[in-house]
């Protein structure tokens, strides 16, 4: 699909996918961690 430029195109898509995965996982983990912590402390 990418011909002689495959060595540039697929890494670009791979790095984009990886960066989005980090942004998504990081944001969700951050929100979940602090939500749980706030709820635990509110019960005390």
């Amino acid at each position: 699909m990418a011909g002689k430029y495959a060595a540039y195109i697929w890494p670009a898509y791979g790095i984009t996918a990886l960066t989005f995965a980090i942004l998504i996982a990081g944001s969700l983990a951050h929100a979940r961690r602090w939500k749980k912590r706030a709820e635990d402390l509110a019960r005390k």
Binding site: G3, Y5, I15, T16, T19, A31, A38
Partner: protein, 240 residues
């Protein structure tokens, strides 16, 4: 009718709104990205760029988002500085983290396009350099916040830094017109400059990135609100 920013300025209303809006924006982003990627990866090769035109569908939206997110960071910082609004500060902090990601993507995918097209991974061109400065502003913002323990002082210092960095936005945008640049001018704002076969995936991906940012921004702000609630609760428990 209550204007949207005023409506969302209330943390309880914001949390209720973002609870359903974040997954909705996320779903819209995924659907648009699937459509954009399908059209982009099946588009014919460009007569000049060849298959590397496919990098444009992920590079251009990332570059636009890097500036848009910084504008959001600037507005949120201004509101946090002037009105000392906690949610605005949360929004600024959340935007900085996401903007760093978009700017990193703009730089890396641009470099991967530049190597086969220009013959260089990097050139000290006005556009590339000003985007690198934008990336450094994001990093400096995050580093400054992390380096000051007092939340209020950190917020104030970082907000001032963010406002200073706003000066760089017009430089990034107009750099290709103000200086002799290897980087091409704005194609998306020039009528008829882009064939529909490339315009469709590019605009789809841009809206997908925008919706994705909207979703992640809301999630990240929610996390910041929870963090501050947790820290306030921890203080109450420690005092009891």
């Amino acid at each position: 009718m209550i204007p949207a920013p005023a409506f969302l300025a209330n943390p309880e209303r914001f949390m209720a709104f973002s609870r359903w809006a974040a997954p909705l924006f996320g779903a819209v982003a995924v659907l648009l990205a699937i459509g954009g990627l399908w059209l982009g990866l099946t588009a014919p090769e460009d007569y000049q760029q060849g298959a590397t035109v496919r990098i444009m569908f992920i590079h251009v939206p990332a570059a636009i988002m890097s500036m848009f997110v910084y504008a959001c960071l600037g507005v949120a910082s201004l509101l946090a500085l002037v009105f000392r609004h906690v949610l605005a500060d949360c929004a600024a902090q959340a935007a900085a983290w996401l903007g760093t990601g978009f700017t990193f993507l703009a730089l890396v995918t641009g470099s991967l396009w530049g190597r086969p097209m220009w013959g260089a991974w990097w050139v000290w061109d006005a556009r590339l350099t000003s985007v690198l400065v934008l990336f450094l502003f994001y990093i400096a913002y995050l580093a400054l916040r992390a380096s000051i323990d007092d939340e209020a002082k950190a917020a104030r210092a970082a907000a001032i830094l963010a406002l200073v960095g706003l000066v760089n936005l017009p430089i990034v945008h107009f750099s290709v017109y103000w200086w002799n640049s290897l980087h091409q001018g704005s194609t998306m704002l020039t009528k008829g400059a882009l064939a529909p076969v490339y315009a469709a995936p590019l605009y789809l991906m841009l809206v997908a990135y925008l919706a994705g940012f909207g979703s992640l921004w809301l999630v990240r702000i929610r996390g910041e609100v929870w963090r501050r609630r947790a820290e306030a609760a921890a203080l109450r428990v420690a005092r009891a």
